[in-house]
Symmetry: C2
Subunit: 78 residues, 2 copies
Amino acid sequence: MSLRGLGVDPRCRCIETESQRIGKLIESVELFPPSPHCKDTEIIATLKVSRKEICLDPTAPWVKKVIEKIIANKTPAA
Amino acid sequence: MSLRGLGVDPRCRCIETESQRIGKLIESVELFPPSPHCKDTEIIATLKVSRKEICLDPTAPWVKKVIEKIIANKTPAA
């Protein structure tokens, strides 16, 4: 069955991830858990001003810190 | 200055949050850190199949667990 008709992209979204700490530039972060379409969690940040979307590495400590800060009701500064 | 021209909603997005544990139904989760437009972190989940968007309570332990599971490369089951 093709999933394209359902509006679901049947592949991973991220090809490469940002290695620099760009916490300050982040407007929002979207988390995609593992799914039949992609075996690994994907994290996509939308940047302030440019609204550019950047893939982040879920295993990078700074990325985890950014998400922990957001959940703790703080702005990410990392 | 009005921010509407920039495509930024100058208010909070969430009016109420989901109290039930809907981890299993979650397709993706978007995190919005505190900003000039909303003093509190907002978490919006997109549900599988229906693609409905639901606000989650960032202070709810089950919500934190769902996010921790996603970062740990697991599917949220809470």
